[in-house]
């Protein structure tokens, strides 16, 4: 039981992080806050992926020079799985791209309504 918790608590912390972000996206009324929540959510997912790549007792996936040429001596167990890292490079980029577009939208919204509170915007729309 203890072993199980020790070997899994990481995942649970990631999930707590994700849920903080998720709550920010859904429950917060301020648009920037929603966006911050989105960032947290995405980063937490990235964290989850990165940790998939972890191997105990392994090092970064850069093959040192002395191993070049002796292909069969490269032991995959010595190097961290690079694939999740690759995926997460993409995910980070997607995150920043979404943030950029969303911020542009926020500026447009602020120009239009003069506020960033969702309920106030709804009020303004209703009266329109």
């Amino acid at each position: 039981m203890m072993d199980f918790i020790v070997s899994h608590y990481n995942y649970w912390i990631y999930i707590v992080l994700m849920m903080i972000g998720f709550y920010g996206m859904m429950g917060k009324r301020n648009l920037v806050k929603k966006l911050i929540g989105m960032n947290i959510f995405q980063t937490a997912i990235i964290l989850y992926y990165v940790s998939i790549g972890c191997k105990k007792g392994a090092t970064v996936p850069i093959i040192p020079e002395e191993a070049h040429g002796v292909i069969h001596h490269i032991n995959p167990f010595n190097y961290i799985n690079p694939l999740p890292h690759v995926l997460m490079l993409t995910a980070i980029v997607v995150g920043i791209a979404t943030t950029g577009v969303a911020l542009a939208l926020i500026i447009l919204i602020h120009r239009q309504y003069g506020t960033l509170e969702e309920n106030e915007i709804l009020e303004i729309r209703k009266n329109d």
Binding site: I45, Y49, P84, L87, A97, V101, L105, I106
Partner: protein
């Protein structure tokens, strides 16, 4: 060279043109539209060639960078894909054609190159989602689609930025859920390739990880395809978007979402998983879809705004497709796939009409459509074709998919779904005949009924030819698909359904 590289050309031609358009925009703005048009046309032609190839020779695999599947990224084109490619590229071509005159009016001149660039990116993304055989690659293209969609929608009317922002939030949640689902699958299988996953997953059916991944996948993709009750972002976003954008996004985006749902449920998880391990998911999906159909139809009836009405119809149509997926027998799946095709055409048709009406009259209020049959007779003729198809009057295509869905529901003894489908048909009748009545009939005093004179002279004032031709092509498509649905099923859809259902 072209024939060998068809799958990748379909995607990269519009993609590279999107970059080119931006550079061209700095030099000569007038060239953007024709270049974009040519690229989409090329993409459509390539898709058609690919479809022919697939029908003749079966599934095609294409390895990006020459790396074999589990390591590299693979494009897999089978019957379902190929049909979807043709569908998406055709609808895109039509809406791009149409956007020529329409965008000129809606988008500031200096932004035209960026507009077309984003437009092409949207098309690229949709095609990329359809053609890929890799879970993560799908996510990347999903994001390209979403991002360009956010920007395009935000350029619409007054409240469009807020609608787009809501779409950003909901879309990102959907994409994140999808990503989580892929991560959960990856941690237990170590693979991202769809075919590879399909091979590995049957050994893991009992795993809680896979169950969770399945649930998150369904929720995520439901958000993207706007399945009731996760549709809340859709009506606002699609109503307020510029009409040249909603003609592209509305028919394709939800259909591509439905395609992904279909693909992942049946090709990755396998029909066994969803039917035997998690039948409850199928039931819930079915009930939600039935809810979508009823809700969409009823809400459509409550709208005055023509475009908003169409968005609710769209919600209902998504419900139809998902009903087919949820019933999951051969007939119902045939109906679902056919409905994906049909609905893309129907929605394209109706949104094109809505755009043309807005273009000419500036109103979306159906009570101000009076005399439209004199002013824009051709547009209204197309509207009737689209409306009858949604209602399900036979020679139009909408009937045939409904028929298969009903047969599927009959075979599965799901009487409620039959009732839902038929009831919503009646609602659709009410919805569309209200519009047609307003456009065609001129409520007049009984005293005037026989004097024969026209109370108002309305001049013929049609939408420009660049908008009319795509509308007519789509309308003809609706009838042709209806007429040739037997051929489509026999040569394409039959092979698209998993063999063991």
């Amino acid at each position: 060279m072209i024939s060998k590289n068809l799958p990748v050309l379909i995607v990269t031609v519009p993609l590279m043109t999107a970059f080119l358009v931006v550079i061209l925009g700095l030099l000569k703005r007038k060239l953007c539209y024709p270049i974009a048009f040519l690229a989409t046309l090329a993409s459509f032609i390539f898709s058609a060639m690919l479809l022919e190839k697939v029908i003749l020779h079966g599934t095609i695999h294409y390895y990006q960078g020459g790396w074999l599947p589990p390591w590299g990224i693979e494009y897999v084109v089978d019957h379902l894909n190929a049909a979807m490619l043709v569908l998406v590229s055709f609808v895109s071509l039509m809406s791009l054609w149409y956007s020529g005159p329409s965008a000129e009016k809606e988008i500031p001149k200096s932004k035209i190159p960026y507009f077309y660039s984003l437009y092409l990116l949207q098309i690229t993304g949709l095609l990329g989602i359809v053609v890929t055989g890799d879970m993560f690659n799908l996510y990347v293209f999903l994001e390209i689609t979403s991002l360009s969609g956010y920007a395009l929608i935000a350029m619409g009317e007054k409240h469009a930025p807020m609608a787009a922002f809501n779409y950003v939030i909901m879309g990102t949640i959907g994409a994140c859920f999808y990503l989580l689902s892929v991560g959960y699958l990856y941690i237990v299988t170590g693979s991202l390739n769809m075919a590879d996953l399909a091979r590995l997953l049957p050994h893991l059916y009992g795993s809680k990880v896979v169950l969770t991944a399945f649930v998150f996948f369904i929720v995520g993709i439901s958000l993207k395809m706007a399945l009731f009750p996760l549709h809340i972002w859709l009506p606002d976003a699609y109503t307020l978007a510029p009409s040249s954008v909603s003609t592209l996004v509305a028919p394709t985006m939800t259909k591509v979402g439905a395609y992904v749902l279909f693909r992942i449920i049946f090709s990755v998880f396998g029909p066994h998983f969803s039917l035997e391990v998690m039948p409850i998911a199928h039931n819930i999906l079915g009930w939600l879809a039935a809810g979508a159909v009823l809700f969409g139809s009823i809400m459509a009836l409550a709208q005055r705004d023509f475009k908003r009405m169409l968005t609710y119809i769209l919600v209902a149509e998504v419900g139809y497709i998902v009903i087919g997926v949820a019933i999951a027998n051969r007939m119902a799946l045939t109906g679902a796939i056919l409905h994906i095709i049909n609905d893309a055409f129907m929605m394209s048709c109706l949104f094109l009409v809505a755009g043309a009406i807005v273009y000419k009259t500036g109103t979306r209020d159906i009570y101000q459509f009076r005399f439209l049959h004199k002013k824009m007779p051709l547009t209204m003729a197309v509207l009737i074709v689209g409306a009858l198809s949604v209602i399900g009057v036979p020679p139009m295509c909408g009937f045939f998919s409904k028929w298969y869905l009903i047969l599927g529901a009959l075979a599965a003894h799901k009487w409620v779904f039959i009732a839902v489908i038929l009831t919503s048909t009646l609602f659709n009748v009410a919805v569309f005949f209200r519009v047609i009545e307003n456009a065609y009939l001129e409520p007049r005093e009984p005293a005037y009924a026989h004097d024969g004179g026209q109370p108002e002279i309305v001049k013929f004032d049609e939408a420009p030819i660049g908008m009319l031709i795509p509308m007519f092509l789509v309308a003809i498509g609706i009838i042709l698909i209806g007429v040739f649905s037997g051929h489509i099923i026999a040569s394409i859809i039959k092979f698209a359904i998993p063999a063991n259902i």
